[in-house]
């Protein structure tokens, strides 16, 4: 691995972490689409910043561009507050307008500088190691690395300082207000971080793919954990994994690095979406199937409990009595037998002691919904889990 390759992966990884942190909060605040809006509307900010500073490396350019991102959020909220259009419509109105202004500005006035639309949209990671910063003749490393390094450092400091406030205002803005933690300040703080990160990442992955880095890792992490700290850590891990594996895929396929990284993000999300232990699609379907079977089982046991007369409990007539198909009656009967809940004497089914206790307990729970009654059964039965 050459040092350029190492630097590219390092930049991509730092971008991924810097995106995962604000991304987690955006996902939890149901504001994922705002990152899309920000990523587009920073374009006029970058162009204006370039006109003012005449220097693509100026930190003022980053701040100005980030300010356009925050302006987007303000505009979306103002339009939405009129109640004449909904939030998603407001987003769809604001960012194309700002973005198109940026496109016109570039085409009209910036044709001769390194500010072409392709680079803005897709970024070019492969070139980042060549754009280096020198101080007194000493090589300080690639510009993109320094930029994203500083942004990530500040983001982490802010996260450590205001984690509790961000968590509270994301979960319960009303309580945050009444306790004196202004949700508005936190909201715009978060939007500023998201905007600065987007601008900082744009050199590396472009304005569009940064959305994937903000949303996909956080969305994947959300399906895997019930702890906010772990969610942030997991999102960062997924981001870094996709960045590095995406780089090598691009290397072997000779394809776009940013494109491969984003594809990896999609694959990671798909895998988590399918296989996450409790919230994944397969787990959910499995649980639903189990719950259905358990409902049948309880229905069956309840029938036995309610009927003492033998003709209601004959093995061959069960399906007629509860109006089930033969296959289902057979499955349920076998399940009950296997769990020692019933016994069969002369083709007459009756509850065992275990079956009796189980049925009464389940009924008590279903009637009262008192969790205490069923705590010990939750380990064995999907039906009684939330």
């Amino acid at each position: 691995m050459t040092s350029a390759q190492f630097e590219i992966q390092l930049i991509a990884s730092l971008v991924a972490i810097a995106c995962a942190i604000p991304g987690t909060f955006l996902v939890l605040r149901k504001m994922a689409m705002i990152s899309d809006a920000i990523s587009h509307s920073i374009l006029p900010g970058i162009v204006l910043g370039f006109f003012l500073t005449q220097d693509l490396n100026s930190p003022w350019l980053i701040l100005l561009a980030a300010a356009t991102g925050v302006l987007t959020v303000v505009l979306v909220e103002k339009i939405q507050q009129t109640k004449l259009v909904k939030e998603d419509t407001a987003i769809g109105l604001v960012f194309p307008a700002l973005f198109s202004i940026g496109v016109i500005l570039i085409a009209k006035f910036a044709n001769d500088v390194h500010l072409d639309i392709d680079a803005v949209l897709l970024g070019e990671l492969a070139f980042t190691p060549f754009d280096r910063i020198y101080y007194d003749g000493m090589d300080l490393g690639p510009k993109a690395l320094l930029v994203i390094g500083v942004i990530l450092f500040v983001t982490i400091l802010l996260l450590l300082a205001f984690f509790k406030e961000l968590k509270l205002s994301t979960f319960d803005a009303g309580l945050a207000t009444s306790l004196g933690f202004s949700p508005i300040i936190l909201h715009y703080g978060l939007m500023s971080v998201a905007s600065v990160t987007t601008v900082g990442a744009f050199d590396a992955v472009g304005a569009i793919l940064v959305v994937a880095l903000m949303i996909a890792p956080a969305a994947s992490a959300y399906l895997l954990t019930t702890d906010l700290k772990k969610m942030i850590a997991l999102a960062a891990t997924f981001g870094v994994f996709s960045a590095i594996s995406g780089y090598w895929i691009a290397h072997f396929l000779d394809a776009s690095i940013a494109g491969s990284m984003t594809t990896m993000l999609g694959i990671v999300f798909l895998a988590v979406y399918l296989f996450a232990p409790s919230k994944g699609l397969i787990a959910v379907l499995y649980r639903e199937k189990q719950q259905r079977i358990e409902v049948y089982l309880i229905t069956f046991l309840l029938h036995l409990k309610n009927h003492s007369e033998e003709n209601e409990r004959h093995v061959n007539h069960l399906n007629e009595h509860i109006n089930w198909q033969k296959v289902r009656s057979k499955t349920v009967l076998n399940l009950a037998l296997k769990n020692n809940m019933i016994r069969i004497d002369n083709n007459i089914v009756s509850l065992t002691k275990k079956g009796e206790t189980f049925t009464s307990k389940a009924i008590d729970y279903i009637v009262t919904y008192e969790d205490g009654l069923i705590e010990d059964m939750k380990d064995d039965f999907f039906l009684f889990r939330g």
Binding site: L28, K30, K83, A161, F162, F163, K164, E165, K167, L168, T170, F171, D172, G174, L175, T177, S178, L179, G180, F181, Y222, T225, T226, D227, L228, K230, M231, T368, Y369, E370, D371, R385, G386
Partner: protein, 244 residues
């Protein structure tokens, strides 16, 4: 004779120019357990949110023990409506209760062992200690309401505002909650509850405010909880058969 815990003067709140609360004057004496009743859209939640500074009124003022709310935050605890938060948020019951301690910590400072101890005590008080590590979406509606109550208890305030704490909870939880509210009153705290079930007002509360955009009446339940005020508030000829 008694101290005034909350004083509301000429409070008017409007959404898009439509007044939701109109010129409310209200004094809540210290140590009462008060219900705010009124029909849907009467401005009950709005009144609480305005007192707590969550909504900005277009006119009027609010004082808590004679001072503006901003300087009295630590004396006030708030239980919002259960539906106002996302229960799928990745956090545990204990963590939600810990949020009640954030006010006394202020900005940046993180909760430590002392805050955790207080949160655990509050969880025990509402009978939810064994659920402390449970993810909040895995709790029943009544349990979620108890978590909210524990979060308010942990604030160790002098005044508690609760927005429909009995909504969607089972009978056991309702009894558990009202017992805790009565304990709070016994300890000299002031408790203000937005309440829907008129039948239980005389049994649960000792003070009541009738509200329907304007204040209709406020005072001790035994003096003013009658058909006349109910009719004035709900607009129809109201006859409740209340077992006193």
């Amino acid at each position: 004779m008694e101290k005034i815990a909350v004083k509301v003067d000429d409070l008017t709140v409007a959404y898009n120019y439509k007044p939701v609360l109109w010129d409310i004057d209200l004094q809540i004496p210290e140590g009462v357990l008060m219900a705010i009743v009124g029909p849907n859209g009467a401005g009950k939640s709005t009144l609480i949110k305005s007192i707590l500074g969550i909504l900005k009124p277009i006119a009027g003022s609010v004082t808590i023990f004679g001072k503006p709310y901003d300087s009295q935050r630590k004396k006030v605890a708030y239980v919002p409506q259960k539906g106002s938060v996302d229960w799928d948020f990745p956090t545990t019951a204990l963590d939600v209760v810990m949020m009640g301690t954030y006010g006394s910590l202020g900005w940046i400072k993180r909760p430590g062992a002392n805050e955790k101890k207080r949160a655990l005590e509050a969880l025990e008080k509402v009978g939810m200690l064994s659920f402390k590590s449970r993810q909040i979406s895995q709790l029943s509606g009544g349990q979620q309401q108890r978590i909210f109550l524990a979060r308010a208890l942990v604030q160790d305030a002098s005044i508690y505002f609760m927005d429909e704490p009995f909504q969607g909870v089972d009978a056991t939880t309702e009894v558990a909650i009202i017992n805790i509210l009565k304990e709070l009153r016994k300890a000299g705290k002031t408790v203000v509850v937005v309440h829907h079930d008129l039948q239980t007002v005389p049994e649960y509360f000792d003070w009541v405010t009738f509200l329907n955009v304007k204040k209709i009446a406020t005072g001790p339940v035994k003096d003013i909880f009658n058909d006349e005020n109910l009719t004035k508030t709900y607009g129809i000829n109201y006859k409740v058969s209340i077992q006193k």
